[in-house]
Subunit: 219 residues, 2 copies
């Protein structure tokens, strides 16, 4: 699979060995993460807001209310940074200094455009729902024209982007390996628990397989 062209802005200054521009790595992180953090600037002040996203090919779609502050601002095609982070473990070293985390993150820079064409907007809207639970958009009432209008969908090309990944055990200073302190990793996993049916659900509606079998990707 191809690599994304590195730029000075997406090249790691420190620990370059943790960085990659491989599209397969970037895509896998974007697809696993349930939320992203969108950064943008208003009157010189950066804002970072969490929201949901979905990827179609080399494009990231982000959605929000048409009336919300973020979407009203981003619609102007201003520079944006979308960051996605998956936390995989706590890295406990023999020294306080070398404590760390195992994680996988992606950073995308660019300008977002508002999706106005209806077919693309519907496709992105379905992708956003299916990103949460695969197949879900086919199991519920689809968006009406009015609902589609009330939603803003932004598209950010995944052109200037990089991933950063830390895995493995703590890396202590060589002379610290004889210290009598325990060291290792506490793995972390975001896990789905048993689905709770809405209390207003009429009797006799079964839990669909997409929900009953819902699992987060294992590490």
């Amino acid at each position: 699979m191809s690599a994304i062209a590195p730029t000075p802005r997406t090249t790691l200054v420190r620990r370059p060995e943790r960085g990659t521009h491989e599209r397969a790595v970037v895509n896998a992180i974007l697809d696993e993460a349930l939320i992203c953090h969108v950064g943008f600037v208003m009157d010189g002040q950066p804002f970072v807001l969490p929201t949901t996203h979905a990827r179609i090919d080399d494009r990231l779609y982000v959605h929000g209310s048409a009336g919300g502050r973020m979407l009203r601002t981003l619609r102007q095609a201003i520079p944006v940074c979308v960051t996605v982070t998956l936390l995989d473990g706590l890295v406990l070293a023999r020294s306080a200094f070398h404590h760390s985390m195992n994680y996988r993150s992606v950073l995308i820079l660019g300008a977002a455009r508002e999706v106005r064409e209806e077919a693309e907007k519907r496709r992105a809207f379905c992708a956003l729902v299916d990103h949460v639970v695969a197949g879900r958009s086919g199991e519920v009432r689809g968006a009406s024209d009015l609902e589609l209008k009330a939603t803003s969908v932004l598209c950010l090309p995944i052109e200037e982007a990089s991933a950063k990944v830390r895995t493995g055990p703590p890396l202590d200073d060589e002379e610290d390996y004889t210290l009598p302190h325990w060291a290792g990793v506490i793995p972390l996993a975001l896990q789905a628990q048993t689905a709770l049916a809405d209390s207003r659900l009429p009797a006799g509606i079964p839990v669909p397989a997409s929900v009953a079998r819902y699992r987060r990707p294992g590490r």
Copy 2:
């Protein structure tokens, strides 16, 4: 407990009922989250980077390498936005439009200052380690003077901040409640798994209670 004074920048435009400025709510979210996303601007481009944080009273400490891009930039006391998000569940509605997530997030705006005073820096450094595993800083080799110098610690006062919380079942349009589509919530929880000892750990070093009993807060 006191409330943080709202400002136009921390007042929700949409769904104000989900927002709060209560310090107890803001603090609980900051304390539970293992990482934050730091937003800052360089040459007009926003950057959003994940990092670890710790709170002491009404101050948030963020740390990074003294040579890293983020710390070198933030040291200039430029405007920053720190956002913390905890994901609690997937909200599956009867309509695609009303799909949502249950989450708790905090947004802090301000300018960070670099911590230069050694006693405060050591205190913050220990808090950053203990934020990951309570009591950990007392169980490992403390930071040397050189290590402390190699680390930058930034302090952001929690003065302009707000929390946003969504909980509970999906909220469908009234006429959709009779639809034959399953609706409910899939709860999500970040869970700690059994700790993995470093392969270079000498024999006979027991797992400390802080690690063996490590649990993420339950919801």
